[in-house]
């Protein structure tokens, strides 16, 4: 139902945009950037498949480092270890019965039914039509209820004043933040920095709905899992090998 509505909205807005471009085309940027001018739709759902068997420990470290570099977190001077942001972290687990050890990168799992979005009093926690879960920091009052609700502990609170942020990644004291799936890259046709940092097939980024995408085809072939699948959140980040 909602999907239908959204699609209709989408068509409406795209026609409006085309009409707008036709009428306002007074030589300003609108025409040049028309391709970037259409809203994201729910015909796509961005996701990532992480194959822990193909990832080495240094791969995971690289993913963490490029994320820090790309989004400008981790160099906070006052915050203590547990106060520092953690958009993506390396997690090592051991099976209690067999003793098998796995290592995996953990970040926001971009759920289809995100608990953080449900609990946010001001709609600051939100999910885009294409499945990316974000914090609209303009609305965030820093109540941290989303951090209580997230089953993955993947949200961070900015504990101190920041300056010299990345141009594309506004961040500030008193608001909550987390992995954005590098939307600023994805919206321009790129892929998240962490996926780019791994040269092997250990991390595949793509549109889960698109039957021709690599991620969709791989997920059809191999065994994969979602973390805390029992919660039925239908995460966008899938793992295989754990």
């Amino acid at each position: 139902m909602s999907k239908k509505l959204n699609r209709r909205d989408f068509i409406k807005s795209t026609t409006a945009v085309t009409a707008g471009v036709a009428t306002i085309s007074s030589g300003i940027t609108l025409t040049t950037f028309a391709a970037e001018d259409s809203p994201v739709t729910n015909e796509k759902r961005w996701g990532m498949l992480i194959d822990t068997n193909k990832l080495t420990e240094s791969n995971i470290d690289d993913m963490v480092n490029v994320c820090q570099e790309e989004n400008g977190w981790g160099s906070e001077t006052h915050s203590t270890g547990a106060q520092k942001p953690d958009w993506i972290k390396k997690v090592k687990v051991r099976d209690k019965t067999t003793g098998k050890i796995d290592m995996l990168p953990m970040m926001c799992q971009h759920c289809e039914q995100p608990p953080c979005v449900d609990v946010c009093p001001t709609n600051a926690s939100m999910k885009r039509e294409d499945g990316v879960v974000l914090v609209d920091k303009h609305l965030c009052i820093g109540c941290r209820y989303c951090m209580m609700a997230c089953p993955y502990g993947s949200r961070s609170f900015v504990h101190e004043d920041l300056s010299n942020q990345k141009e594309h990644m506004p961040r500030g004291k008193g608001t909550v933040e987390s992995c954005t799936l590098c939307v600023h890259r994805v919206d321009k046709g790129g892929i998240p920095a962490c996926a780019e940092a791994v040269s092997s097939d250990g991390v595949i980024f793509g549109d889960l709905y698109d039957a021709n995408s690599k991620i969709n085809q791989t997920l059809k072939k191999i065994q994969s899992t979602q973390i805390r699948a029992d919660l039925n959140l239908n995460t966008g980040i899938r793992y295989s090998g754990i």
């Binding site: 007074s26 300003i28 809203p39 942020q165 141009e167 594309h168 961040r171 500030g172």
Partner: protein
């Protein structure tokens, strides 16, 4: 009632203009360049409109960007900062610093601006 409204609007509009006339505003390096080249007209609808309406423009754009992923340059805060920043000793001065483009007006009219507790205050990473 209508007359009162007109008087009120006239006063607010003229006050906006009055300020622009009696004091030179720190436009920023690139914006001054564009103005001297006569290219500034194509960027903003009109001086009075952008002065009055820029909060609405920015608000509208911010929602489109965050919620719908529309990343055009028009009305993007990044672009404001890019053109309206000044340099000093080969370094950019934060745009919310005193006497800079945003703060001159905002201080004068006594409204605080909250953009730069999160947004970067200077153009791109390096000069």
């Amino acid at each position: 009632m209508k007359r009162l409204l007109i008087v009120f609007l006239a006063l607010t509009v003229t006050s906006v203009f009055a300020y622009g006339v009696d004091k030179h505003i720190n436009l920023g390096d690139r914006a001054t360049e564009l103005k001297n080249e006569g290219k500034s007209r194509g960027i903003h609808p009109s001086l009075s409109e952008i002065r009055k309406m820029h909060p609405e423009f920015l608000l509208h754009k911010r929602d489109k960007t965050v919620h719908q992923g529309i990343r055009t340059r028009r009305n993007s805060l990044k672009e404001c900062v890019d053109c309206h920043s000044t340099t000093k000793n080969d370094e950019y001065v934060p745009i919310n610093a005193p006497e800079q483009f945003c703060s001159t007006c905002h201080q004068k009219v006594g409204t605080s601006l909250d953009c730069f507790s999160c947004h970067r205050t200077t153009p791109k990473e390096d000069l």
